[in-house]
């Protein structure tokens, strides 16, 4: 039992707003919530442009939900009606329907751009390092959820690319041994993507995943405001507390980051609306041209490519050809040798790594499991491995600012591989493209799997005790 309830007494001539707030605060921690989460949340004062993308992601989430509600009012999740409920009803009949639709379709791509930049920030400044592992894990779960949300939503316009993209991805589950074919049948609700699939994808897109997404965003923010923000110097501002009990190098989010984020929002909206009003198709990347052809189960398009934000991972899937399996087997064997001689793991752990590697190599033999299955495994691993960053990075400093200069080139190489995979995923595969994507796949995984060693190697620069700040 807490203390007995006591009504806050304000003078009779206090403003009505104050009285109302006091009445609410006695019954619900409204002021406390605001102050803990934003108003008196002290954040390092040296945030740079990279720190705008979190609030922008939040803005886009709200935009997607609001535009989504209006689209749901006019959209028909029915295979016979879906295409024209978008192209006739929403794009022509509903006043401003086209604008809401373009906001939503452009918003989907903008969401991924902003989230990829937000994740890059975390990578550059080591924002996932202890004690912020859970912030990263929740953020990673948001990313997974977003991918699922985008995938389900992309089926809804019921164009050729919607249809065949869904067909290809659902078929991936069919590569899982034993349960695969039944599993993909269960997901589709039919033998091919059909009305049944459209209905369930609609349900996932408009209610199931948004609910999970909102919960995860709340967890992400609560965890962040519990341990406090990292900053571009990667040092703890809480190590230097001022006489007021707040970190010397931190400032309250309100008003300083309220105004800074507002400026960020204005810059973002300039670019975002320029796309909506002048390039809603974005050269076929945001709205794919083939998706203006209604879904046709009898006509497979010559070129099926997922939307751009999935293509880096999709490229990993396509890179896994039967020939490439031997390269993978060699790479795994090499990795075991490397772990055996270079890591400080116990003998038991090393033996476990070797045993797992042996199982993988045997599994990769063409007589055991085919390349399609391993393609799916690698596709999944290329996403999941991002979530393991907090435990892969062994650098003694967090921020790239105080790492050896050559670390930057490792990040650049990784970034280039990721972008190259993304580009190749949008193109028709040719033998040359497949080979480049195989090289990039190896670079992509090496970045993560060798991180425990390269991140700790080299001469690190002295880390300052106070943040680098240039007054305006």
């Amino acid at each position: 039992m807490g203390a007995a309830f006591k009504e806050t007494k304000l003078p009779a001539d206090a403003p009505a707003g104050h009285k109302a707030l006091a009445w609410v605060d006695d019954r619900f921690p409204l002021s406390k919530l605001w102050n803990d989460q934003w108003g008196k949340y002290y954040a390092p004062k040296n945030f740079n442009i990279w720190y705008l993308f979190g609030s922008l992601a939040m803005l886009i989430l709200v935009l997607q939900i609001v535009t989504g509600i209006f689209l749901t009012m006019h959209y028909k999740p029915d295979a016979a009606l879906a295409f024209n409920s978008v192209e006739l009803t929403i794009m022509r009949d509903v006043p401003w329907g086209w604008l809401v639709r373009y906001m939503h379709s452009t918003g989907a791509s903008a969401f991924f751009i902003v989230v990829y930049l937000h994740m890059t920030r975390g990578l550059l400044y080591g924002s996932y390092r202890k004690p912020r592992e859970l912030i990263w894990v929740f953020g990673f779960a948001i990313f997974l959820c977003l991918m699922a949300e985008a995938f389900f939503g992309y089926l809804l316009p019921w164009g050729q690319m919607s249809y065949w993209g869904a067909q290809v991805i659902v078929n991936l589950f069919g590569a899982i041994p034993v349960i695969g074919p039944d599993l993909s049948l269960w997901i589709r609700g039919d033998y091919v993507v059909s009305d049944a699939t459209l209905n369930r994808f609609f349900a996932f897109h408009v209610i199931a995943l948004p609910l999970v997404l909102l919960g995860l965003v709340a967890a992400h923010l609560i965890a962040l405001h519990e341990v406090g923000s990292n900053n571009p110097d990667g040092i703890e501002v809480k190590d230097h507390i001022g006489p007021d009990g707040h970190p010397l190098d931190a400032i309250p989010s309100h008003p300083y980051y309220t105004t800074k984020d507002l400026f960020g929002v204005s810059m973002f909206l300039l670019i975002f609306t320029a796309v909506i009003f002048y390039a809603p198709e974005m050269g076929g990347y945001f709205l794919e041209y083939n998706n203006f052809v209604p879904a046709n189960s009898m006509q497979t398009p010559a070129h099926i490519a997922p939307t751009w934000y999935f293509t880096p991972f999709y490229s990993v899937l396509r890179a896994t050809t039967a020939d490439f399996m031997y390269v993978l087997m060699a790479a795994i064997a090499l990795y075991v040798v490397f772990v055996w001689f270079k890591s400080r793991l116990s003998f038991k752990a090393k033996a476990a790594v070797a045993a797992i590697a042996l199982v993988l190599i045997i599994g990769m033999l063409p007589q055991v499991l085919d390349a399609k299955f391993w393609g799916v495994v690698l596709f999944g691993s290329s996403v999941v491995i991002i979530g393991l960053l907090p435990w892969l990075d062994h650098s003694p400093v967090r921020s790239i600012r105080y790492r050896p200069n050559w670390h930057m080139w490792v990040y650049v190489l990784f970034g280039l591989s990721f972008v190259a995979l993304g580009y190749l995923g949008t193109q028709l595969p040719t033998p040359a493209y497949t080979l480049i994507s195989q090289v990039c796949t190896l670079l992509y995984f090496s970045f993560f799997l060798l991180m425990p060693w390269w991140s700790a190697a080299g001469r690190f620069k002295p880390v300052p005790t106070r943040v680098t700040f240039h007054p305006h």
């Binding site: 004062k45 024209n84 192209e87 006739l88 794009m91 022509r92 009949d93 086209w98 604008l99 373009y102 400032i251 008003p255 300083y256 105004t259 800074k260 507002l262 400026f263 929002v265 204005s266 810059m267 909206l269 300039l270 609306t273 320029a274 909506i276 009003f277 002048y278 809603p280 198709e281 076929g284 041209y289 083939n290 203006f292 052809v293 209604p294 390269v327 040719t430 040359a432 493209y433 080979l435 480049i436 090289v439 700040f469 007054p471 305006h472």
Partner: protein
């Protein structure tokens, strides 16, 4: 190792790959004709020539008001396949019949100008080139073939305007493989004249394509006009947000 060799070979090829040609018949640029008279002429051509076999199920007749036509004009001049101006543009032909006669059901044309965009050119470029490159080919069931979409099921609907043409082809040996022959297109031969001159036919096709582009997204005019206002508004907002932010941050040392 084989893999390394392949890698070196590929890296040597990279500059060539980047500039590799898309292949296919090169597309002509569709002339920009978005004035009301062109769009209205395009609408007339569309209703008279395309709507017999194709539908435009996302297009209501009364949407034509946006290109300056009145309900009366629509009703008396353009309304062949429907009773009310609020109805969508359907075709009189049943899809099953179409499939039987042409081998493929003619696609709905509502958003065809958007669907045909590619890295080779805009959807308008595609349609403008496609509609002007039909030629006589007696090996085809319809007697017609097309440069942009070889062996297309559609006959040359506008042949009376354009007349009958055949392509002039030159046979050369393949510079990469001398045992093979390649055929290069060098120009057109007019077999019999049409009711229009070549220039007039190009203009008429451009009007039809302008209409198809407009129909694919009737809001595009509003979209571009409104965009300018929104961007000006946001620029002012961005300026104010910037000054507001500076005024708070300058007190921080």
């Amino acid at each position: 190792m084989n893999f390394t060799k392949k890698l070196i070979a590929v890296l040597a090829l990279v500059p060539g790959l980047v500039f590799a040609n898309e292949g296919g018949f090169p597309l002509d640029r569709a002339p920009e004709r978005s004035d009301m008279a062109s769009l209205q002429n395009g609408a007339k051509l569309f209703v008279n020539h395309c709507l017999n076999c194709h539908s435009a199920s996302a297009m209501r007749y009364n949407k034509l008001r946006d290109i300056g036509l009145t309900d009366e004009q629509i009703k008396s001049n353009l309304l062949f396949s429907a009773d009310k101006v609020g109805e969508v543009m359907k075709t009189a032909m049943r899809p099953e019949d179409a499939k039987a006669w042409f081998g493929a059901a003619p696609p709905d044309l509502s958003v065809i100008a958007r669907a045909k965009s590619s890295s080779a050119g805009s959807g308008a470029d595609y349609l403008y080139t496609y509609l002007r490159t039909f030629y006589k080919d007696d090996t085809r069931p319809t007697g017609w073939n097309n440069m942009v979409m070889p062996n297309v099921a559609m006959p040359h609907v506008l042949w009376q305007m354009q007349g009958v043409r055949t392509p002039k082809m030159v046979e050369e040996s393949d510079p990469h493989d001398h045992s093979k022959k390649i055929h290069t297109f060098t120009g057109w031969e007019q077999v019999s004249p049409g009711s229009m001159s070549a220039t007039d036919f190009d203009t008429a096709t451009a009007d039809l394509v302008a209409y198809l582009s407009w129909m694919a997204e009737p809001a595009q005019g509003t979209r571009k006009k409104l965009g300018a206002i929104v961007l000006i508004f946001l620029s002012i907002f961005a300026f104010l947000a910037w000054r507001l932010n500076e005024s708070y941050w300058k007190e921080l040392k």
